[in-house]
Assembly symmetry: C2
Homo-oligomer: 338 residues x 2
Amino acid sequence: MKQNIIAIDVMGGDNAPYETIKGSIDAINENKDIKLILVGKEDIINQELQKYQYNKEQLIVQNATQVIETTESPTSAIREKKDSSIVVGLKLLKEEKAKAFVSAGSTGALLTGATVIIKRIKGVERPALATLIPNANNGYTFLIDSGANMDCKPSYLPNFAKMGKIYMENIMKINNPKVAIVNVGSEKEKGDTFTKEAYELLEQTKNINFVGNIEGREIPAGEADIVVCDGFVGNVILKLSEGIVKTFSQVVKKEITSNILYSIGGVLSKGAFKNIKKKFDYAEVGGAPFLGLKSLVVKAHGSSNAKAIKSAINQCYKFIESDIATKIENAILEDNNL
Amino acid sequence: MKQNIIAIDVMGGDNAPYETIKGSIDAINENKDIKLILVGKEDIINQELQKYQYNKEQLIVQNATQVIETTESPTSAIREKKDSSIVVGLKLLKEEKAKAFVSAGSTGALLTGATVIIKRIKGVERPALATLIPNANNGYTFLIDSGANMDCKPSYLPNFAKMGKIYMENIMKINNPKVAIVNVGSEKEKGDTFTKEAYELLEQTKNINFVGNIEGREIPAGEADIVVCDGFVGNVILKLSEGIVKTFSQVVKKEITSNILYSIGGVLSKGAFKNIKKKFDYAEVGGAPFLGLKSLVVKAHGSSNAKAIKSAINQCYKFIESDIATKIENAILEDNNL
């Protein structure tokens, strides 16, 4: 099997296919070790590719005539649209023609497709979407599950924590990362039924550094490296974080430009705001891997621009280099004596 | 019954009793129409009161020898600590010696105590904690339930929405406020079991302007006036919002002071940041009322300073003036044909 080949769903996401193709070209032009398979409607892709200069050996096009929309039911879409960019891309991964698959399309369809086509690691009840969110502690917090599983069972969370640990140690180089569960108070007895049960299980989980509950207000400060929760709650956390940063930036801009003195101040301190923007820019992070699958499937943000797609590709390259999928699988199998 | 008498739990919260007493004095010194009953250990209160100048006719002290800690089980604390500031304060309300009760103490104990002593409005299954959170749309979003009920049932939410509507119309002067339910996507079929069921019920609820799902990222923009959800999710939203604003402010400050040019810019635009801080300052909002009780019980933030306590008292004054508790009760009874 060839190394570093990444398949890209060119049809998924709000800015597909143009930004997706641009991000793909930027990625290969910056890194000669990456090879890409662009999956989607080949006539559109080939036409778009004429705009760019790139090394032809780093890129091939794989035709897929259908597109799964985010409004479609994931299960029936995967079953019925066999020639969709998601199904075709996942099959490339399954057949080991690619080492990773990136899509900015429907999260539900990607998850359903991946579970059916790629399969779960033995011992993992459900794969989770794991997203790095920026924190003030000059780093990132790994939020698991950030939206794959609605109505999570408490028993899913120990594996979320274990898989997150291996990722944080290998990719983010954080030794013995602190794992916390999202809750409404710091005391063990707080929370809803789900959280109380999951707390008990996490306490008994070997080989993780479980530090207990984390409240909403402590997450942005970076008080834990890995934050586990139900996928509904995680998705709200992820999107609310994005929304507040965006809204706050707009308010700052509006206030700064509201009078001439503030505007001059704003111009002088522009560099500071550029640094802040970079720190909280979700496009810098790249995509979110589904943890718990036998191969690497990465969900890029639905509104990904070229930069976000490029980041997701670069992230996949790092994943492949560190062989993270195999490390996670081995660790889970070992822990569960499978 | 005398008008505008508000009972204050002087022993609850991180900054009790000193900041609570200071905030109380500030409130009566600014508004001659407010009368307060300070509930707590009278020797401590009387000693502290010697520091201040105020009109003695606006303030009385009610001794309560016990304090309920946030770590205690709410049910047993309410049962066993009959002379706690929370139980004594709620009894003043029950006996109509006060028109409202404000506490920065244990949310659970306050809710349990209020449900037992004050009782619910007929037809309301559970009271909800309703918090105004700042939004960019130059106003506030009413977040219900923001932490009273863990494991909410879908059937609670229509009443949360109805009560929130009356509050927003009467206190915030927003006509026909938009009601949305927190979810992970905009389509009706998205979400967990709880949210799907609650969506169906809200759709069928008369007299509310239900606009469907709201995603985390749309909340700070103020795309709905009332946002309903399970109390666990609401509490995470509330605390995460606070945390991000706090963290973001710290990062801005750090970046601005990181070099001399940025610092000069920061000084020039200081006024802009003061405006922003005011806009996102939770101490400006005051407390969060429990909606669904027969009298007015307001939860102040656990970390309330004097300013937040004063805001909560001023808010109660507004509530009493507009007779919001009666209006909510009448509307619920009418809607349910009780």
